[in-house]
């Protein structure tokens, strides 16, 4: 397959000198110059999904990177213009397929805002419980794969085993483990099944020792600390300027979480903390996500102990035709700020849906974060950004 990276439609100051970029048949041996161009991906055991990273190296040190994405581009935003609002709901799960419930929450809330309806309190509580469970599941997957990239093989199996409990709850609730399509515009479609509260409470008792287990393997581990401390540092100013959100931003010291800053879906009723880091390195991002898992447990506990009775679906017309207008609504997905910009033309099909993907914007920061690091650290930094290519490419 032809490599199109040499056909550029615009030249300019890039971090990579494109004239050096000849990956197919180097006419000149490129080991004699100081700079080496190495291609990682798109198929690679470490890059979580189909991501191609072109590294420009000076020996082992990384001088610059360029990410080539789009291998998983499915045209979700174009599809949205050809489906009704209700029909588009299952598509949003497929973007960040690891945290499908969050995607659905963001979308349903955005459309509800556009319709100017609100989900009833019971639905909001159910939404919070499932979203927080999904946050834990997403962080577990991140932890397993990130540890595997750095060389610790065992946490992967532990996290995936424990994640099963969450997926079992999802399956009993809505029939699907991964791409759940859990929520509907206006509320939830499914009532909590018999035993839902009991199972969630069982999970709340079951899980904290597991987090302790993961931490026992990694947090104090000398090798882990050496591999992650001061690796991939991004300062708070850089993070804000690059639009990085989520645990990456919080690890750089910015105490900002949309669940607290602009609460949605009953988060204002719960008491939880926002962990922040100090250095903005990989270790801090690891700690932030571990603490976030514990805080999610706290939220779930408060929610499941206080689910109000009532209807689970708000007053939404059968045919969803929001009035003409635009709305932007964002939520705190496990990866960062997930936003939906919906333009409605008054018909049953959205005129434009723009998904603001946290992984896409976070991935942009990769270049800054790996400058000066060694090649082995690039893999660690990609892992710590917690990107899901389904969301990056949509």
């Amino acid at each position: 397959m032809k490599d199109h990276t040499n056909e550029v439609s615009g030249r300019g100051l890039s971090s990579l000198d494109r004239s050096n970029l000849d990956l197919e048949t180097p006419e000149k041996p490129y080991l004699d110059s100081n700079e080496l161009i190495i291609n990682m991906g798109p198929q690679h055991p470490a890059t979580h999904g189909v991501l191609r990273v072109i590294l420009k190296l000076d020996g082992e040190k990384v001088l610059g990177t360029e990410c080539v994405i789009g291998y998983l581009h499915r045209g979700v935003e174009k599809i949205a213009e050809n489906r009704t609002y209700t029909m588009f709901n299952p598509y949003v799960d497929r973007m960040d397929y690891v945290a499908a419930v969050s995607n659905g929450l963001g979308y349903c809330e955005a459309v509800e805002k556009l319709l100017n309806v609100e989900a009833p309190p019971r639905a909001k509580y159910i939404r919070v419980i499932l979203t927080e469970l999904n946050r834990i599941a997403s962080h577990q997957l991140w932890l397993g794969t990130h540890a595997l990239d750095i060389g610790a093989m065992t946490p992967l199996f532990y996290t995936f085993r424990d994640r099963e409990e969450i997926l079992k709850i999802f399956e009993r609730y809505c029939g699907a483990r991964l791409t759940t399509h859990a929520f509907r515009i206006g509320g939830c479609q499914y009532e909590t099944y018999a035993g839902f509260e009991k199972e969630v409470k069982n999970f709340l008792a079951f899980f904290p020792p597991k987090i302790d287990e993961y931490e026992a393997l990694l947090t104090g581990n000398r090798i882990w600390i050496e591999r992650t401390k001061n690796v991939g540092v991004i300062s708070a100013a850089d993070a804000i300027a690059l639009g990085v959100t989520g645990p990456v931003l919080r690890a750089s010291g910015v105490k900002w979480d949309l669940r607290k800053a602009q609460p949605y879906a009953a988060y204002s009723e719960f008491d939880f903390e926002i962990p922040i880091g100090t250095n903005g390195d990989t270790y801090d991002r690891y700690m932030v996500r571990m603490v976030e898992m514990r805080q999610s447990l706290r939220i779930i506990e408060q929610a499941v102990n206080g689910i109000p009775e009532g209807p689970i679906m708000g007053k939404v017309p059968k045919v969803i035709k929001p009035p003409v207008g635009e709305i932007y609504h964002s939520i705190e997905a496990p990866k960062g700020e997930l936003g939906y910009f919906i333009v409605s033309d008054g018909s049953t099909q959205p005129y434009r849906i723009r998904v603001r993907p946290p992984s896409f914007v976070n991935l942009q920061a990769l270049d800054i974060m790996v400058r000066g690091l060694l090649v082995a650290d690039v893999v660690a930094v990609i892992g710590t950004l917690d990107i899901v290519l389904g969301e990056v490419d949509r």
Partner: protein, 430 residues
């Protein structure tokens, strides 16, 4: 030839020292077979233990509980297409795994499984070991070079740099142990492997506990360095799959690749054997001086039999727990046969232990003694093997520059320091 065969029986020298080529050859063949079996067992244990660490079962289908998996792997690798890159240097490509294998296996000529159970008791045994095991580096570099592809080359250079750096610390730790052999009345130490174990026996203490914590630190340095020497986790950056440089054996497939793996496992067993010999008392049973009475001797001589009995019991329990579905019939039978085999060996060993109870020179007693020595040695080496697997399951891997930093900036100064302090303490205590 028969003369050569019978003249050695009853001797308490190693064949090398007794100048008996036939028996040396027999010992070499026994070691070769034993190491091959050990490597297969190690392969099985690695997959099973790693799997159990990761809450999964590992191979279960190929034999009962995957016991025949190593055979299946060996067969598969032998039947695989032998791909040699067109641009590769053909002869060098062919010879590289052999060099590695040579280096790993030659070390076994000096490893003592007992006071006369070694191929040869060279009086420079430890020097020989250090020298020959360094040849392994050559095999790796040659393999990387012969592949004519820059990823394996980079991987090979890294592996070799790593091995060379940790050789230094390893050597210094070994020198500390050698030094300890000289802390006796005559003040002369020995480089002979058998001599080192005998001096531990004579001084009545395993060198790991000598001048606590000096022996322990020297042992720790060696234990860490040997993991780095054999390119095992957490020092396996050079051959890890998720890294860009996929290691020196990338271009090798099938049997050639399996030769590299054989060399790696053999090297692991060899360096563990060195560690056991130098610090953990080699073939000695626990407390040979303290618990000296014949009753204790008898008790400890039961251990081999009891170990096999325990293994047989585990296998029997496994058989009992297998589902009684017809799909599992063959596996059940196989495991039961395996259990029976283990039981028979156990019985045999117990009979020998009982018959050789008295300390006379009867055949049973000599067998008993020899089995005891080999058993304790193998047990200690097996503990190290398990530790290797445990390390791999638990820890992430070091980045290459961190690995080199540890080798040169941490291990080397500490081992130098331990050596000096050991020497000073040895002189003072005298």
């Amino acid at each position: 030839m028969l003369n050569q065969f019978t003249s050695y029986l009853g001797s308490n020298l190693t064949p090398g020292t007794a100048n008996n080529q036939l028996w040396a050859l027999i010992y070499v063949l026994i070691i070769f077979a034993g190491v091959s079996v050990a490597v297969m067992a190690m392969n099985w244990l690695e997959r099973k233990a790693l799997a159990h660490f990761q809450i999964r079962l590992g191979p279960m289908r190929v034999g009962p509980h995957g016991l025949l998996q190593p055979f299946a792997d060996a067969l598969k690798l032998m039947l695989k297409e032998d791909i040699i890159p067109a641009e590769a240097d053909q002869f060098v490509f062919w010879v590289a795994p052999l060099i590695g294998l040579l280096a790993s296996f030659t070390v076994y000529t000096v490893i003592p499984f007992g006071p006369s159970q070694a191929v040869s008791d060279m009086n420079i045994g430890i020097l020989f070991m250090l020298g020959v095991s360094s040849l392994g580096v050559l095999g790796i570099v040659v393999a990387g070079w012969a592949s004519n592809s820059h990823y394996p080359l980079i991987g090979a250079l890294r592996s070799s740099a790593q091995m060379v750096s940790y050789e230094v610390a390893m050597g210094l730790a070994v020198v500390s142990a050698i030094l300890m052999t000289s802390f006796n009345e005559t003040g002369t130490g020995t480089l002979s492997m058998i001599g080192i174990v005998q001096s531990q026996q004579q001084q009545g203490i395993w060198f790991i506990f000598k001048f606590f914590p000096l022996g322990l630190i020297a042992f720790a340095i060696f234990a860490i360095a040997m993991v780095a020497e054999t390119n095992r986790a957490p020092f396996d950056m050079a051959e890890a799959e998720s890294e860009l440089t996929a290691g020196y054996h990338t271009e090798y497939s099938g049997l050639r690749w399996s030769l590299f793996m054989l060399a790696e496992y053999a090297a692991m067993i060899a360096v563990s054997a060195i560690a056991v010999t130098l610090w953990l008392g080699g073939w000695m049973r626990p407390f040979p001086n303290l618990l000296h009475a014949p009753a204790w001797d008898f008790l400890f001589s039961l251990f081999p039999g009891l170990t096999f009995l325990g293994l047989a019991a585990i296998a029997l329990i496994g058989t009992a727990r297998m589902p009684s579905h017809s799909f599992f019939r063959i596996q059940r039978i196989g495991l039961a046969v395996f259990a029976a085999l283990l039981g028979i060996i156990a019985l045999l060993l117990l009979v020998i232990a009982v018959a050789g109870r008295s300390a006379d020179a009867s055949l049973a007693a000599r067998f008993n003694e020899g089995i005891g020595y080999v058993y304790w040695f193998v047990l200690k080496v097996a503990v190290f093997m398990y530790l290797f697997i445990w390390y791999r399951a638990t820890w992430p891997r070091y980045r290459f520059d961190q690995l080199m930093k540890i080798g040169w900036k941490v291990m080397l100064p500490i081992s130098l320091g331990v050596l000096m302090v050991t020497a000073i303490v040895g002189v003072l205590v005298k």
